[in-house]
Symmetry: D3
Subunit: 248 residues, 6 copies
């Protein structure tokens, strides 16, 4: 069930038997010469929908904007500041907590979001404890990074080895190709690609990663591989979600 | 062109001949017993894509969360606080301004967003004037409310008369039916429906509008009407967009 | 009754029979070559006092600073940022809500305030719902723009036609002349005056409206007309106020 | 010259020979059973106007709301939170600094404002240093508390001795009586009045100062004394202002 | 008892017989050519520990960063903005208030902190009144500036006369020499030292106080004098603390 | 060199040959029945000083307060909210960047700080890029968690196996015993200790970890082991620091 495609009485009915919700969060950021700017949101959303179907869970609207300040020296990147994202997450959870939701399962498509999400959850628990929300201390959030699913990770290693890299990876590009098979972009990629340099500010990032890739070779990606990643991630995260909501 | 489905070099190329971008903003809020919670985002997004195609303009990622605090007494509504939304809009524009965008055409699906958007634009212009962005004083934002397009408004009046109402309207429901013809929801709607009561806080709103509708009869909506609204809005807003970016 | 000229026991007594209060809000911004910088506050305040007398209502202290960021390229303009004004409005209402006030009637002298005020009211209702204030959900705000009163508007059209314009208008200048008949300023006004250009940032505004007027000819104003505007506005807004506080 | 009663070209002209401005700041707070809620703003404003006349200085609009959180358990008190007041002061100064003002002389009517004003000035200097304002490092603020003028203080001691107290004092009440001789309020004042208890939160304040006075006997005040205070304060602060703007 | 060196059960036990806590707050700022950057924190901390021992009171962790924006043109100064410090103080007190503490005795080593601390306390009282903390209206804060203790002040005058100055004073330098006798720094100090110039922004401060001292001659300091200051301050503030927590 | 124990000319001199600084950050939070509340700050500080000595690096003042909201249901815990900590870190770095520092090496004693620190660094880089600081894009931060040093981790596993746990661990307790050998606390520890339960809000945390420990047996700790941890951490982090500042 997609929250966006439900009516409020349907949501009310859902809440009579479940307090869990799945929330996709991505990012809007450069993904190298051939990767889609929306890659992280596309991946998070399609997997969240898959998990929602597999588990009959409610899926909330996708947060397209994440924490990508280090990519802002590349055209088209749109990032929230961490302090803005914290407020967005706080508002998102608080409204749904008022509705009655208690278990928030965040399917995340961008490593750069993790730190701010964790900070936001901590601030939200604290904030909610002082509102007039019954059982506010039962509210729980969990981050599920699809790209860190064990079998996803193993398949990526097997298919791409070191060329998986850590940004604009063939695995995430493959997944977007599975979703948008007509939108496969190509470019002449430098075979030498920087990797291993830590992330600081945006100008520094671009100096060290001039085409935006971090150690990756996205040319290896195919839509069929994307489908495999999709299936593995949906399967593993469906289990994770069910465990999450079952926990006392 | 959708920003989310473009690569950063494609965006860079686009910026060599245009600095305009279309941004859909909706809301995640109850739309009466039969309206989809995502109605405002769905409408804004589909029209934005239509305008983007008609004018070869870039379309940014949809903001699903808007200012809907008055609907938060209904399950499933998710609203940003105005002060949060101002920060989100400021971050959105600032990042794109750094990229080189100068004309921001916001296609809006929710009347409740207008005030906060206007406030956010004013704060953003002021903020940008103090950053190191060349030609920051040429940055312009315009709000285009699809439901206030002249021909859209006239058609709604003609088709529904007073039963158009002002929230969970048959026109917006029709548009979502055009987009999702398989998701037409039905319910027994009270023929008596409140209208004309001003909007204050969430609990007060629900007391006065117990099923969430404001003077509307969404049962009148059909997908075919939705298509008409779509076409009228795309045509009118395409003209508006072209005028907006052409202005000296 | 003016709050500023009352004692706290007098306010306590007032609250025993009324929970309504009138709040004038203006702006401190350029009003063309001959208009007073305080025009919007002066107009809002004098009308608020008139309405207060006519209805025996409490009138709070005037907010002199509003949202006028687009005028800040002209000397003497002082504007709050929207995010600041939201906090000011929230503090203003919250304190009075703690006292027991429940109906806030904002008499506004500046179109540029409307958006931020609406955003602020929404945020305030939401904020108050989580404080320990009894009957917080009965708190209501209404904006009354004196210049949009039906008869005010009609008289302005009749007296000035198109030369009313939309900023530094003869109607508002006339009203300040009625209040300060000794302070009628004159200047050689260009007969060509820009109009119709939308409002973006401050530098852009000044480029398009070089002397600060927006389509207006304030030289048409007289103190006698100002008195007429005053009387019409007080009459209409007194009715509006009484309806506002009478509503269940 | 009052900024509110000037046009922008008049302000521009003023800036050609002076960069000084006087800003009255008061508070909206209970002043005991007979003191006006607006006492602090009334006193600051009338003295600021007097100093402005005596020194041909520009006088900005009065800030009616100050930091009076400890008085909020009494009906009618309206306070800004310190963090809000800091933003207001920052916006006020920043706008005028953009205009070209460099010397800000704050005539203050409320002891409770001093701490927050000082904090606000520090934050503003720091903020301005990072904006594109020429000579931002020449911006200076000074607080002038009229009630701490040497001769004002001495006269109060002479007239009232210990009954001057520290809130709702006869000296400030006298000054408001001078301004509003028709608004002299009376009440039976308990001859026992609390004093010397430190200020903490609002409920605590009211428990210790049940009628709002702090050690004062405002019944001693007369309008004639108010006139004396007015003259002494205007004289002393005029000198202070002239010294302030003359300093290299 | 030092909070940092206690276990939580020990704190819980302490709270069974006392709700008082001592909090040292300093600053990290230039102290002239020979003064330690940490002078204010060192002094506050050592005296706080002394008072804690003398009164068997709990001592919280030292806040090393205070409000020193005007010193930031000198290398090594680290200051919080006032608005940041307000949030820090609010979080500090709120957490301890949740634990059960009710009396907060702030031993302060830096005059520049006083204004922001007072603002922070006011905002905290107000904030706490709306949380679910029992007896929140009994929470009290007091600032104790060790350098303003009567006997400390008298000794400094006696030892140094006018050469005490107001920043990088021999008295505070002496106290740090008592704490760190092996870290006595020397430099050729200009015998002419600026004094009496008010504090505005950082660049302005450095122009007027080029080596960072304000009217002081820290070369007069000795560790033995430091010990005397220590003893006087501990004695006086121990009495102050005991009176503070004993007050009904 | 400790910044707090240096003069500003010494810092200026240091900056002539190095732009690196080490910053210890801890937390003030319960550490089980026997662990010191200041454990994380004590560990970070002592190791930072050791690294500073080994590398002749400047060491800034310790941040005693970190992100420990989940521990606030235990007496004595003091936490900053993430949004506060972000501001503190931003102020800390900005001031030192103005001084000329460019490499910030954060020695961290608390896992719960990592997420917020990362968020804060990203926001700081972005913020600094818009200030007038030369070479702002060369500013870099690195987090060094002493407890995650390879040899520290291995020794802890070897000494304690599973009883190391993840909070109030014997390794960190041992390190505090090395620093404060006279402050070794004992208590009867339940041999059954919860572990593996994720961290949500404060009340939930205490329900699942009733004495505050997470899977640990701090009774295994000895001061001698603490010394070993100290030496291993200082050695490894000294290398890390030198690599960090040497990187182009």
């Amino acid at each position: 069930m997609l929250l966006q495609l439900s009516t409020w009485p349907e949501v009310e009915n859902y809440l009579s038997y479940s307090t869990g919700i799945i929330i996709p969060i991505g990012s809007t950021e450069q993904h190298g010469p051939t990767g889609l700017i929306g890659t992280d949101a596309i991946c998070a959303e399609v997997i969240a929908k898959g998990v929602g179907e597999a588990t009959a869970a409610m899926v909330g609207p996708t947060l397209h904007l994440g924490m990508a300040l280090h990519h802002t020296a590349f055209s088209g990147t749109i990032s929230l500041r961490p302090s803005t994202l914290i407020q967005v997450v706080m508002d998102y959870i608080t409204c749904l907590a008022v509705s009655g939701f208690r278990r928030f399962f965040w399917i995340n498509g961008h490593g750069g979001n993790i730190a701010t999400l964790k900070a936001a959850f901590a601030e939200t628990y604290y904030h909610l404890a002082n509102l007039n929300i019954p059982h506010a201390d039962e509210i729980r959030c969990e981050i599920a990074n699809w790209f860190m699913c064990r079998e996803v990770y193993q398949l990526a290693k097997k298919l791409y080895g070191d060329q998986e890299g850590s940004h604009a990876t063939p695995s995430e590009v493959a997944l977007t190709q599975f979703v948008y098979p007509d939108l496969i972009k190509t470019a002449t990629l430098d075979t030498q690609v920087a990797s291993g340099y830590p992330i600081y500010g945006a100008a520094d990032f671009r100096r060290h990663y001039p085409d935006g890739r971090m150690g990756s070779n996205p040319a290896l990606a195919t839509p069929e591989q994307g489908q495999q990643f999709y299936q593995l991630a949906v399967k593993e995260l469906s289990n994770s979600y069910l465990e999450f909501i079952a926990k006392a």
